[in-house]
């Protein structure tokens, strides 16, 4: 049955194992550092890597993992469908760049061209939408295309797309091999954009509240460690992320890991955008979906 | 000749349905077979010989009439009446000896008894040293002999043979015909044999049923009064040849050209 494999069972003497899903991207670095530093005591942490968001969501929805660092919009979709999830922290702030090929000098140049995003429901799509609007263009002026992130640098290099907007380090890859350049950083378009968040199953939060708190304490701490973006952080991250240091350094330059609290006004802006773009009719409200109690206690 | 009736076919008819057309294949067939007899059913291709044999063996149910084996209606195939198929029907995945043992496995015999009986009948057909080989390693003639051994091993009251030697060359055919007569005499088996070879029928049989087609009927029954073994070039043999051939020619008026027997 559903949830059978939920690992976090509360048997007394054995330490429970928390399973958290992730994709190998720069946005999940705090998770990597938390596991590497292994400061927690009340539980075992198992990070489960997935090949794509779709598979990660399936696992999360069916209770095969207790939580995940994932695109917030996808979690909101699940919530809307009746899966009990809570967003408890951000995965990162900023750190999404709009990469284009070297011939594109402004938004106007993108008109009529193909532009890749990982997902219709991603914050990247919203960023693209706002960017176009801010430059006096319509969303329909570019042809937005969903592509697996790993294919984007190749597609850009081969001239199949004019640009892309996706999680790191895939933006940095193109910049590092001189096949692309940064047209905009996300904070220029939408300050306080919410992208990847740490999501936990409500079931887990209710049954193992203390453990959840401990997990969150060290998550916040790991975020602060990550914010140093030093050699140490790079080493720990590279256990999960197989990229050159040059790419990673670029990636780190654009991102921030301090203050991982989800702010209500940012969230409102997100839901407004979703409704405005017609991507979601009834996005869950801030109260329903965001649970800041852990991060607030951790501070 | 022993005068116990073993097979008794009574007013038997059979038709097949073909695309909602009813094709009468056998009509009102009646005959008796005595214990120890060799009877041939002779007829052209498609006249219903195989169908008749299948009905006698219980493989096909007649539409009308009945077949009695020792006075009891035949409703299903059974071990007392073994059919030999034209393509020999040996199981390619079993060695020669295990093929012969196949029918014995249903009897209450120990493995040793089974093996002994199989070897006895393999010896009878002259293949005692081939028991461990596989059928595909045998020539056509040898395969047919294995089939005969397999049938005999069950000591059936009746053996049905459907064109048993049609696939063999003349020399092997002659040889196996002699073998069959020798074994038949030794075991006193009753045999019903389907063939389209006039010589074969005359050479082997005590009686010949001549079938005519559309629908299949037994047109004539001929007693062969020659002593066995017979001489194919003897005048009497030629008499029967000519006689039977005339029977068939009579039935084929559509043939423009004269046959020269």
């Amino acid at each position: 049955g559903a949830g059978e494999d939920t690992a976090a069972d509360s048997s007394s003497d054995e330490k429970p194992t928390i399973k958290i899903g992730y994709l190998p991207i720069t946005h999940a670095v705090p998770l990597f550092i938390e596991e590497q530093e292994e400061k927690y005591e009340g539980f075992n942490l198992e990070l489960v890597k997935f090949g794509s968001w779709t598979e990660l969501i399936d696992a999360l929805n069916t209770g095969n993992i207790d939580g995940a660092s994932m695109l917030v919009t996808l979690a909101m979709k699940s919530k809307e469908q009746g899966i009990d999830l809570k967003a408890v922290a951000l995965g990162h702030r900023d750190g999404n760049v709009l990469v284009t090929n070297n011939d594109i000098d402004n938004a106007e140049d993108l008109k009529g061209k193909k532009f890749a995003i990982p997902h219709k429901f991603s914050s990247h799509n919203i960023l693209l939408y706002h960017m176009l609007k801010q430059n006096g263009l319509e969303y329909e002026d570019v042809e937005a295309i969903e592509l697996p992130p790993a294919e984007m640098p190749a597609a850009l290099a081969e001239g199949r797309i004019a640009g892309y907007l996706v999680a790191e380090p895939f933006g940095a890859v193109s910049v590092a091999i001189d096949q692309g350049k940064v047209l905009y950083q996300d904070q220029e378009v939408w300050p306080g954009s919410i992208d990847c968040t740490l999501v936990l199953r409500e079931e887990f939060i209710e049954e193992q509240n203390e453990i959840a708190q401990e997990f969150m304490d060290y998550y916040v701490e790991a975020g602060e460690t990550a914010e140093h973006k030093d050699e140490h952080a790079y080493e720990m991250a590279s256990e999960y992320l197989d990229v050159d240091q040059e790419v990673m350094d670029l990636s780190f330059k654009w991102i921030a890991y301090d203050d991982l609290r989800i702010h209500e006004d940012d969230y409102e802006q997100l839901t407004d955008s979703l409704v405005e773009m017609g991507l979601q009719d009834n996005p869950p409200s801030y109260e329903e979906f965001v649970d800041n109690s852990f991060i607030d206690k951790a501070k | 000749m022993n005068q116990t009736t073993i097979i008794n076919v009574e007013k038997m008819s059979k038709s097949f349905e073909k695309k909602s057309e009813v094709l009468p294949v056998l009509k009102n067939i009646t005959f008796d077979i005595q214990k120890g007899e060799v009877v041939s059913i002779l007829g052209e291709s498609g006249c219903g010989k195989s169908t008749l044999l299948n009905i006698v063996g219980g493989f096909v149910t007649p539409d009308e009439g009945n077949v009695y084996l020792d006075g009891k209606v035949v409703e299903q195939p059974n071990r007392r009446c073994i059919m030999l198929f034209q393509d020999y029907g040996l199981l390619p995945w079993r060695s020669v000896r295990h093929n012969v043992e196949l029918g014995l496995e249903g009897l209450k015999l120990t493995a040793k008894e089974r093996k002994e009986r199989a070897l006895y009948y393999l010896k009878l057909v002259g293949l005692e040293d081939k028991g461990e080989l596989f059928p595909k390693e045998m020539s056509g003639g040898m395969q047919q002999r294995i089939g005969i051994a397999r049938a005999l091993a069950l000591r059936p009251e009746l053996i049905l043979m459907d064109e048993p030697f049609a696939a063999l060359d003349t020399f092997n055919r002659y040889y196996l015909q002699d073998e069959l007569l020798r074994i038949q005499e030794q075991e006193d088996t009753t045999i019903i044999l389907v063939t389209h070879d006039i010589d074969e029928a005359i050479y082997l049989s005590d009686r010949i049923f001549i079938m005519h087609p559309n629908p299949g009927i037994i047109h004539k029954e001929i007693n062969i009064e020659l002593a066995k073994p017979r001489d194919r070039s003897h005048g009497d043999f030629q008499y029967y040849r000519k006689y039977i051939f005339e029977e068939f020619r009579f039935n084929r008026p559509e043939m423009a050209i004269d046959f020269n027997i």
Partner: protein, 252 residues
């Protein structure tokens, strides 16, 4: 005598492959990172072998493959032998099989995760689905097409039930079942990768996804080559097994 010739052919074939590959890169002028040349892939393979990654992933994949394939084969042959003898029941179940068969096992993955969780099971289940239908359908049709003569002989010798299946139907149908097994090995191995690309955390398919996500296309290519080679060996192994059984059972 025939082995050297095959070996020469294989070597010649591989040589052609490498030349075409390298030529494509030179003519197309592709970036190394996007379309790695043979040499770099060779290095990739060596590094994967050296750190044991390749072997570990292969082992995981292979065990999953065995689990999925063997359980599918056993169940499918068992059901096939029964259903082949029950034309009425098969008449009803056949449409269901026909409906499910054309669906890519990967399409089921949301439900597979729901029922079987994550880890080894999804890949095993996908391989199971991929092998089950070819074997079931070929078993049913093999059983239906068992030579009438054999069935008549069995009737004549008064064989019934389990004895009939064991002594006549199964051995007579086996060459066609074996053919189904052979096809199923190919299909299942192909879907192994697809299966492991979805929801697995190890195995050759995962190796490819992970290398892709890390933008290491040389390792992707290495994984592809390795899957090709091991699929080929697996196919040959099943072929040998088929021949061996056929020989043992006195077939050509």
């Amino acid at each position: 005598m025939s082995i050297p010739k095959t070996t020469i052919n294989i070597i010649a074939g591989m040589a052609i492959l490498l030349v075409v590959w390298q030529a494509l890169i030179l003519i197309g002028g592709y970036e190394e990172a996007l379309f790695p040349p043979p040499l770099r892939v060779g290095e990739g393979i060596l590094s994967l072998i050296a750190d044991g990654t390749l072997f570990t992933h292969f082992q995981v994949s292979f065990l999953r493959f065995l689990a999925g394939y063997i359980s599918a084969v056993i169940l499918a042959i068992f059901l096939g032998l029964i259903l082949g003898r029950m034309p009425l029941l098969w008449g009803v179940l056949n449409p269901i099989a026909q409906l499910i068969r054309p669906v890519s096992p990967v399409a089921w993955s949301p439900f597979i995760v729901l029922w079987f969780g994550i880890g080894n099971m999804p890949a095993i289940v996908i391989i199971f689905i991929a092998s089950f239908f070819p074997v079931l359908l070929s078993t049913v049709s093999a059983v239906k097409n068992v030579d009438q003569t054999y069935l008549k002989i069995a009737q004549n010798f008064e064989m019934k039930g389990f004895e009939l299946v064991k002594k006549i139907i199964f051995p007579a149908a086996f060459p066609y079942i074996a053919n189904g097994l052979h096809i199923a090995v190919g299909t299942a191995w192909i879907f192994l990768v697809a299966g492991e690309m979805v929801g697995a955390q190890s195995g050759l398919g995962y190796l490819i996804v992970d290398a892709r996500n890390s933008m290491r296309l040389d390792l992707v290519m290495a994984g592809i080559l390795f899957i090709g080679v091991s699929g080929l060996l697996l196919d040959k192994a099943v072929g040998l097994f088929e021949n061996w059984i056929n020989k043992k059972w006195g077939r050509t």
